[in-house]
C-alpha cells in the first residue's frame, strides 16, 4: 500500500516536473530597458553549403572514372594506388566517413518503408553509382573509391592464404548483415552499419573506446588477412559481389593471351584468382549432376525454413528498438516505474504517454519485425542455397583469371603478368618467350 502511494506520488511529481521542463512560460516579463541596450542576436552557424554534397558525388564519379581508365587503358597499379589514397583522404579524413555508399543502403530502406523520410538525392547517388559501375566494369568502387577498403588495402603486409571453405562460409556473413541492416533501417530501429563501422573512429580521430579497439584490431588483422572487413563483413560489398559476377567488362590479369606462366598465382592478397581447372582434381561429373538437382530442390526448403526461423525470433530481434526494450522492461518489472535512476523510464513517465500507448507502439514494431523476419530469413536461406549450388557447378577454365565476384580490381596481379613487357625477367629465362 505504502509502495503504491509513493508510486502515485512519483507519477504526480513527474507530471508536474515535465510541465516545468517543457514549458516556455513567461514567468518574468521581458524587461523594458531604459539604457541604449541592444539585444544580441542568437547566432545560428550554417552547415556545409548544400551544393557541396554534389561536389562529393562529382568526386566519387571522377575517382571511379579515373580508376576505370587506369585499369583498362593504363593497366597501372601505381596509379590506382594514388587515386585510392586521394579517395581515402577525401572521403575518409576530410568528409569523415559520412556520406558513404555502404551506409546509404539504410537510407534507401528507410526511404522505402518510412513515408516520413525522403532520401536525399546525393545519398541515392552514392548508393546507385557504384552499383551501376560494377555492372559494367567490376568492383571499381572497392578498388579505389571506398575509404574503408583503401585504409585496409594500404596496410596489407604479408597476406596469408585462406582455405576456400573458410572464405565461402565467412563470405555468407555480409549477406546476413545486409539483410539485418535493411530490416533494422526499415523498422526505424537503428542504422547498424553506421553504428558498427570500425574505421569511422579513425577517420574522426575519436569514437567510443570499443569501436577504436575494433577498428585498430581490424587493421592489425588486415596486415595478414587482407581486407577482412571487405571480405567477411561489408554488406555493400555483398551487393557489389553479385553485380560484379555479371559485369560486362572486368579487369583482366593479362593484356593479351594468358601464357599460363603462373607468375600471378600468388599475387592476389584476397585469393581472388581462379586457377585453370587442370590444377584442381576433376570431380566425377555424374554425382555432381545429382548433387546439383538435390541442392536446387533444397533451395525453396531453405527459403521457407530460414523465413520461419528468423520470423519466429522476432521478439529477440525487435529488442533493439527503444520502444520495445522499454515496454519489455516495464512489463517485466512494474516496480521500476517509480525508479529515479533510470533516465529512460523517468522521461517516459514524465512524457504523459501511458504504458498502454507504449505497449501498442511496441506491438506495432514487433509486428513489423515478424513480417520482415520472413523476408530476411527467406533471403538468408536463398543465399545459403545458391552458395551451396555454386559449389557443384563445374566450370572449365584454361587460364588464370580474376574471380569476378571477389576481385576488388586493385590491379596487383597486372603487375606480375609478363605479357607485353619485353624487359620482364621472365623473358630472359627462356629466349623463346621473348616474342610473347
Amino acid at each position: 500500500m505504502i509502495k503504491n502511494v509513493t508510486g502515485y506520488f512519483f507519477v504526480l511529481f513527474f507530471v508536474c516536473f515535465s510541465f516545468i521542463a517543457h514549458a516556455q512560460q513567461q514567468r518574468f516579463p521581458k524587461p523594458e530597458f531604459e539604457t541604449e541596450y541592444q539585444m544580441p542576436e542568437t547566432s545560428s552557424p550554417m552547415p556545409r553549403a548544400p551544393f557541396m554534397e554534389y561536389v562529393d558525388v562529382m568526386v566519387l564519379i571522377l575517382v571511379m572514372g579515373v580508376t576505370i581508365w587506369l585499369i583498362f587503358k593504363k593497366r597501372s597499379r601505381k596509379g590506382i594506388f594514388w587515386v585510392a589514397v586521394f579517395a581515402l583522404l577525401y572521403f575518409g579524413f576530410y568528409r569523415q566517413g559520412c556520406i558513404c555508399a555502404i551506409g546509404a543502403v539504410q537510407n534507401l530502406a528507410l526511404g522505402i518503408f518510412n513515408p516520413g523520410y525522403a532520401i536525399p538525392i546525393s545519398a541515392l547517388a552514392f548508393f546507385v553509382i557504384p552499383l551501376l559501375v560494377t555492372l559494367f566494369a567490376g568492383r571499381i568502387f572497392c578498388a579505389s573509391a571506398c575509404p574503408l577498403g583503401v585504409i585496409q588495402d594500404i596496410l596489407i603486409v604479408k597476406p596469408i592464404k585462406i582455405a576456400p571453405w573458410i572464405q565461402k562460409t565467412l563470405g555468407l556473413f555480409p549477406f546476413i548483415y545486409l539483410g539485418l541492416a535493411v530490416l533494422y533501417a526499415a523498422t526505424g530501429t537503428d542504422f547498424i552499419i553506421c553504428r558498427y563501422d570500425p574505421f569511422i573512429g579513425i577517420f574522426r580521430m575519436g569514437a567510443e573506446f570499443h569501436m577504436i579497439v575494433l577498428g585498430i584490431s581490424f587493421l592489425l588483422m588486415g596486415m595478414f588477412v587482407a581486407r577482412p572487413y571487405c571480405r567477411f563483413i561489408c554488406p555493400y560489398g555483398a551487393m557489389l559481389n553479385i553485380g560484379s559476377r555479371f559485369s560486362k567488362n572486368h579487369l583482366s590479369i593479362t593484356p593479351k593471351e594468358c601464357i599460363n606462366c603462373k607468375l600471378c598465382k600468388d599475387s592476389c592478397p584476397f585469393d581472388a584468382i581462379d586457377f585453370p581447372t587442370e590444377e584442381k582434381e576433376n570431380k566425377p561429373v555424374k554425382s555432381d549432376t545429382r548433387r546439383f538437382l538435390t541442392y536446387a530442390a533444397m533451395i525453396p526448403l531453405l527459403v521457407v525454413l530460414g523465413g520461419w526461423a528468423v520470423s519466429a525470433s522476432y521478439k529477440t530481434l525487435s529488442k533493439a528498438h527503444s520502444d520495445v526494450s522499454l515496454a519489455n522492461l516495464l512489463i517485466a518489472n512494474p516496480e521500476k516505474m517509480s525508479e529515479t535512476d533510470n533516465l529512460d523510464i523517468e522521461t517516459f513517465m514524465a512524457s504523459g504517454r501511458t504504458l498502454e500507448m507504449l505497449m501498442q507502439d511496441a506491438t506495432l514494431v514487433q509486428e513489423k519485425f515478424r513480417k520482415g523476419g520472413w523476408w530476411l530469413g527467406g533471403f538468408i536461406g536463398l543465399v545459403i542455397g545458391l552458395t551451396l549450388l555454386n559449389q557443384v557447378i563445374y566450370r572449365r577454365r584454361d587460364i588464370y583469371e580474376a574471380n569476378r565476384g571477389n576481385c576488388y580490381s586493385c590491379g596487383r596481379c597486372m603487375e606480375y603478368c609478363p605479357v607485353g613487357k619485353p624487359d620482364h625477367p621472365y623473358h630472359q629465362l627462356d629466349p623463346k618467350n621473348q616474342n610473347l
Partner: protein, 189 residues
C-alpha cells in the same frame, strides 16, 4: 569452345540487365519522394528534457550540442536559475555559486536590475544543467541546439539514438535550427 563462351556471356548479359533494371526499379520507386538537399539533425527544444546525454553521447568531444540563448525570451533576471546554483551562497561570480561546470555563461550588468547572460560556446559542453535550471525557475530562454559548424552530420546520430524523449530528428539543411522564438510567436518556432 566458342559456343560455350557465348552461352556464358548470354547468361551474364541477361543477369546484368535484369539486375540493372531491378536497380532502376528500386531507384524509380524511391525517386518520387527524394529531396534535393541533405537532412541535418536538430533538437526540438520543446521536447528536450535536458537529461544531459547530449554531452556524453555525441561522437565529438566536446559535443556539437551547445546551449543557445533566445534573448527575446529572457527575463534578464538577477536571480537567474540557469546561472546560479540552487542554494548559492551569494549572487556573485564565485565558482561555488555557479551552475555551469565549465564557466561558459558570461554575466554582464545591463542596468538595474537586469543582467545579460551570454553562452561562450567554446567552453560549453552541452550538459544542459543551465537549461534545466532556466526551464524550472525561469522563462526557458536557454535551450540546447546542435551547432552545424561543429556537427559532422552522421548518418545515424549517436545522441538521437539515446535521447529519452525523441527530441532529436532530421530537419532540412536549408532550415537547420529550431531556436525558440519570443512569446508573441507562441510555441511556433
Amino acid at each position: 569452345m566458342t559456343k560455350r563462351i557465348d552461352r556464358r556471356n548470354f547468361i551474364r548479359g541477361c543477369a546484368r540487365y535484369s539486375l540493372g533494371f531491378g536497380l532502376a526499379g528500386v531507384v524509380g520507386f524511391v525517386a518520387k519522394d527524394t529531396i534535393a538537399g541533405e537532412w541535418v539533425w536538430q533538437i526540438d527544444p520543446f521536447k528536450c528534457t535536458s537529461c544531459g546525454r547530449c554531452a556524453t553521447h555525441c561522437v565529438l568531444n566536446p559535443s556539437a550540442v551547445k546551449c543557445v540563448h533566445a534573448y527575446a525570451l529572457c527575463g534578464y533576471c538577477d536571480l537567474c536559475g540557469g546561472y546560479l546554483k540552487p542554494g548559492h551562497i551569494s549572487r556573485d561570480t564565485a565558482a561555488e555559486n555557479m551552475l555551469c561546470p565549465t564557466d561558459a555563461i558570461k554575466r554582464k550588468y545591463v542596468e538595474e536590475p537586469y543582467y545579460e547572460y551570454k553562452i561562450i560556446e567554446e567552453l560549453c559542453i552541452g550538459c544542459a544543467k543551465c537549461v534545466k535550471g532556466c526551464s524550472a525557475f525561469g522563462n526557458g530562454s536557454l535551450h540546447l541546439q546542435i551547432r552545424h559548424d561543429l556537427c559532422v552530420n552522421c548518418n545515424e546520430c549517436a545522441i538521437a539514438r539515446v535521447c529519452p524523449s525523441d527530441a532529436i530528428s532530421r530537419v532540412p539543411k536549408t532550415d537547420p535550427y529550431l531556436i525558440k522564438g519570443d512569446f508573441n510567436k507562441g510555441e511556433d518556432v
